[in-house]
């Protein structure tokens, strides 16, 4: 395929970086120019993303568009990029959300366009790099680097309590990643002693033979790091503080993309590397995820400020997605990824609408609104779309995700205790949807006085919402058309995982292993 020779992934990662450097040398007062450049660069990346999507073969579950080069040869660290059905949706999501977030910032963050666009592009580069990495060290570097521009968003453009929130945003995930780093070094040395050469390539590391105790330890370190990154209970408070601290236009990227790094890392790194450790720890991970799902949904009901309410709702749904992943069957994993994608799109739409709502009311206290959205039917419609998308109602984007996750959890699988957890999460879903509905009700109706000065919404702002709403609908109707090859890659992931677990188990307890295999065959 000639697309393979284009180095599409490298181009996508380094184009925004080049754009950021170019914007860096623009004069600070050229707001429009900086924004235009940013939009052009990220638009170009999006077009490359479409090319990637078109060139991607959904029937191949393995890695495609592989790029491999050595980077720090003495330590065995390589520059290894590739996509499969698990990373492709997130790469596209990144390429899609970034230009939108630049457009969304035009009115909200007027005079800071240059710095903002620059940081957005840096973040895009880091996030794409993390989603495409097939080398653990490379993944670590990219996913840590992604935190720096986000720190800058809050520290500079935040409007309340921002130093605290910004530092928390950085330190929480970074501190958790330290555990990951130690576990990574441990694995690295184990691997080096077994293979007589140093390597940080994921495929090589996955071949390391580790006893179950070690795997449990290392998996816990990785899982904690990724749970913090995805703001899973009880590590969700950095997210709510971050979203609370800055205008919604500045924080779109945090729930839409940063949270996905945790989920993706779990599926890409932690589960394939330590299947045995995961096998005995996943129930705990799933419990935290489900408790978090319910807890954050309940907490959302109690919030007095809209930003915090939205933050809790967004944190809540990541819990459900994590639960789906922890179930570790094809339905659960695909459901988790569908849910993450719809969360990214509907969450972005919600945050943009909330930003407009804040502008109308000059405040984000929920009960003090003098300018409810019912006077702006178009925004009301968009808000409802976002709520439908998040809530997982049929025909909207969240539906396949929610359905698959619950189906996977209730149906056949190897995760012990998933049935009660699934029942709890059905209850959580109820609370979550109630929270969404209540939020919509209060934003739309609120007080009954007609506003003296109606909010002027520019055409550009209306248009910005259209692709998001459209995508919510299309993703609900044709999920597998847009999210290409996900189920194939999910099957591969789950099969690889089950094979390893069953293989190890069979050495100790052959009967159960046979039962497992036959059970799976039947299914």
């Amino acid at each position: 395929m000639e697309l393979e020779s284009l180095h599409l992934l490298s181009l996508m990662i380094f184009l925004p970086l080049a754009g950021a450097l170019m914007i860096g040398i623009l004069p600070a007062r050229e707001y429009a120019l900086a924004r235009g450049f940013g939009l052009a660069w990220s638009g170009a990346v999006f077009i490359l993303g479409i090319l990637l999507w078109l060139g991607f073969d959904p029937n191949t579950p393995g890695l495609q568009f592989v790029e491999k080069a050595s980077w720090i040869p003495s330590l065995g660290i390589g520059y290894h990029l590739a996509v499969d059905g698990l990373s492709l949706p997130f790469i596209l999501l990144t390429a899609f959300i970034v230009p939108l977030s630049i457009v969304a910032s035009i009115d909200a963050l007027k005079k800071v366009a240059k710095g903002f666009v620059l940081s957005v592009l840096l973040f895009e580069s880091a996030a794409l790099g993390a989603f495409a990495s097939q080398d653990l060290f490379l993944f670590y570097i990219f996913s840590e680097f992604a935190l720096i521009p986000l720190f800058v968003f809050i520290a500079i453009w935040g409007d309340r309590n921002r130093s605290y929130s910004a530092i928390k945003l950085f330190l929480y995930p970074a501190a958790a990643s330290c555990l990951l780093l130690v576990a990574m070094l441990w694995l690295y040395f184990e691997n080096a002693t077994q293979f007589k050469s140093y390597s940080t390539d994921l495929a090589t590391l996955a071949a390391t033979a580790l006893p179950q105790g070690t795997q449990m330890l290392l998996f816990s370190a990785f899982a904690v790091a990724f749970m913090v990154r995805s703001a899973i209970f009880p590590f969700h408070s950095w997210l709510t503080d971050a979203i609370d601290a800055a205008p919604p236009a500045a924080t779109i990227l945090i729930p839409a993309l940063l949270l996905k790094l945790g989920l993706y890392g779990m599926a890409r790194v932690a589960l394939p590397l330590f299947p045995l450790g995961a096998d005995s720890m996943l129930t705990i991970v799933a419990s935290f995820a489900v408790v978090g799902f319910v807890w954050c949904a309940l907490a959302a009901l109690a919030q007095k400020r809209l930003r915090r309410m939205v933050a809790y709702l967004l944190a809540s749904q990541m819990g459900l997605a994590f639960f789906g992943l922890a179930v570790m069957n094809v339905e659960g994993v695909s459901g988790a990824f569908y849910l993450a994608i719809s969360h990214g799109i509907a969450g972005t739409l919600l945050l943009i609408v909330v930003g407009l709502y804040e502008r109308a009311n000059a405040d984000d206290r929920i009960d003090a609104n003098r300018h409810p959205l019912r006077f702006l039917p178009w925004l009301t419609f968009m808000l409802t779309m976002a709520a439908l998308g998040l809530g997982g109602l049929p025909v909207a984007a969240g539906f396949p995700g929610v359905f698959y996750v619950l189906y996977g959890a209730i149906g056949h699988n190897g995760l012990s205790g998933s049935l009660p957890l699934a029942l709890i999460s059905v209850f959580g879903l109820l609370v979550f949807v109630c929270g969404l509905a209540w939020m919509v009700q209060r934003m739309v109706f609120g007080s009954y006085t007609a506003p003296e000065r109606p909010l002027r919404i520019k055409l550009r702002e209306y248009l910005l919402l259209v692709p998001l709403a459209l995508l919510i609908l299309l993703l609900g109707l044709f999920p597998s058309y847009f999210v290409r090859g996900l189920e194939n890659s999910a099957t591969q992931l789950v099969d690889g995982y089950r094979d390893k677990v069953v293989l190890e188990d069979s050495q100790e307890e052959p009967q159960i292993a046979v039962q497992n295999i036959t059970k799976e065959r039947e299914e």
Partner: protein, 495 residues
């Protein structure tokens, strides 16, 4: 052993630096006008660059060879440290040119003193004899005392010089006592000879020799300002002129680290293991030093004091690397240590350059919350460079700081020191906290509408230093391979 005249070419870096020191002393005496003194800074820069170029050239053909009856040994190891020392002095010269042009007290003696001190450092890193190590380190320190009190009409300067001098004198005494005890056991001061004798002692580790090593370590660690020998450092940094603080922070630390590694890995390697071995001692001191430095740095309001405590913490990281020293090339942490020192030169010079620049805004005290607010908006490029340097100091990826620490941690894990690795990571988080706090402050908008658009002249030398350091801190983090290869080659030449 006679000295072959041709072999003296190998000592040309030292000779050049000594020559420039004397030349600047003479010219400084002769020049009376301010304008002619200004050229002395440029001369110092020229001297540094010439020496550096020579060292680079020498790297390609150098062969391990000893001079002066085996007291001085030129190898890639010594050349690496010479290059680091000269680079740090070039950085400090750039700072000094800007700093002293403001206080119009620029004199030839300053650069002459700095070059004399540098000469001491160059000799110290090439010495393989305890006496010549002692003498070279003294040559390095004594001019530094004078430099610290260079603005002699400021009380704080005098105070800081005194606080530097007294522990320095005590450390000299301890070093000398340690050398005497070692000589008493081995009847030689040559490190290679000691290395040959040490394993043959009746009891290893020998109690008197251990005591000697302990005294020598105490003397050296005082100069490196590792806890519990750190007390002089914060006051000295706060009161000393910033270029001098940068010099103490980089050059002296590097020279002492070079001697430390040599001592531990060559003569006293037999003393590494066991309950009272130096490996455990370094392990413990590393934890104490990095934790103390970083925790105290959190509460510092003054930027210079924050850098001082961070320097104590970094001494802890260096000690952590020394805990992984071995005599085999494979699992030897020396290369990681050398890379770390190179990283530290870049970051420390860059940050002190920013401190000098901030001093030009008339904010001599540099309280973080009060004086740095909105600094990032005065000059966006400068704010970005400052942020990069701070992140590199904290060790955030993909800066040089991350890779430097990653390498040390890699060796720690390879030696099974998981606990120390975890402590180190916790410390990196603490460092990240206080560095990010400064980044958040410099981008905090000031309450008044008019940003401080003071008409400040940015000296070219300072801008060059900051830009160079920031670019290197980022570039060598993303592509560390060349520097890492050089550091490994230098470390390998020890054996």
């Amino acid at each position: 052993m006679g000295i072959h005249p041709g072999a003296l070419v190998q000592l040309l870096p030292q000779t050049l630096v000594g020559f420039f020191a004397l030349l600047m002393l003479l010219l400084g005496l002769g020049s009376r006008s301010d304008t002619s003194r200004r050229y002395l800074g440029l001369l110092a820069l020229l001297g540094g660059v010439v020496a550096l170029i020579f060292i680079f050239w020498q790297w390609s053909w150098v062969d391990k060879s000893a001079f002066f009856h085996g007291a001085i040994e030129v190898s890639r190891y010594s050349l690496f440290f010479c290059a680091l020392l000269v680079s740090s002095v070039i950085g400090c010269t750039l700072l000094a040119i800007a700093y002293f042009s403001e206080y119009s007290s620029e004199r030839g003696e300053y650069y002459a003193l700095m070059f004399l001190s540098l000469l001491g450092g160059l000799m110290a890193v090439s010495s393989v004899d305890l006496i010549s190590i002692y003498v070279s380190l003294e040559l390095m320190l004594i001019p530094a005392y004078g430099m610290t009190a260079y603005r002699r009409r400021r009380m704080r300067g005098i105070e800081s010089a005194l606080k530097f001098f007294l522990p320095g004198a005590v450390s000299s005494a301890m070093l000398l006592l340690g050398i005497a005890l070692t000589y008493g056991v081995f009847a030689t001061t040559n490190l290679n000879d000691i290395a040959g004798f040490a394993p043959q002692l009746s009891e290893v580790p020998h109690s008197w020799a251990s005591l000697g090593l302990a005294f020598m370590l105490a003397g050296l660690l005082t100069r490196m300002a590792a806890t519990p020998f750190h007390a002089w450092l914060p006051d000295t940094y706060e009161g000393a002129p910033s270029p001098v603080a940068a010099f103490i922070d980089t050059a002296i630390k590097i020279a002492v680290a070079a001697v430390l590694v040599r001592l531990l890995i060559q003569p006293f390697y037999a003393f590494a293991k066991g309950g009272a071995g130096w490996r455990d001692l370094m392990w413990l001191l590393a934890i104490v030093s990095m934790s103390f430095g970083n925790l105290v740095a959190i509460v510092q309001q003054n930027l210079k004091r924050m850098l001082a405590y961070s320097s104590i913490a970094n001494a802890g990281f260096i000690l952590a690397a020394t805990a992984t020293l071995t005599q085999s090339a494979a699992s030897n942490g020396a290369g990681a240590l050398l890379y770390y020192l190179a990283y530290y030169v870049v970051v420390s010079c860059g940050l002190f350059a920013v401190v000098v620049l901030l001093g030009r805004f008339g904010k001599d005290k540099l309280e973080v919350d009060r004086d740095l607010q909105g600094f990032g908006y005065i000059s966006p490029a400068l704010g970005a460079a400052f942020s990069i340097l701070l992140l590199a100091l904290a060790g955030a990826p993909p800066s040089m700081g991350f890779f430097a620490r990653f390498q040390i941690m890699r060796h720690l894990m390879g030696h099974g020191m998981t606990a120390l690795t975890l402590v180190m990571l916790a410390n990196m988080m603490v460092a990240l906290y206080y560095c990010l706090r400064v980044v958040a402050v410099i981008y905090r908008k000031e309450k008044t509408d008019s940003p401080t658009t003071l008409a400040v002249h940015y000296p070219a030398s300072l801008v060059a230093a900051i830009a160079l350091c920031a670019v290197l801190a980022l570039l060598l983090g993303v592509y560390p391979t060349p520097l890492q290869a050089v550091a490994e080659a230098a470390a390998a030449s020890l054996f």
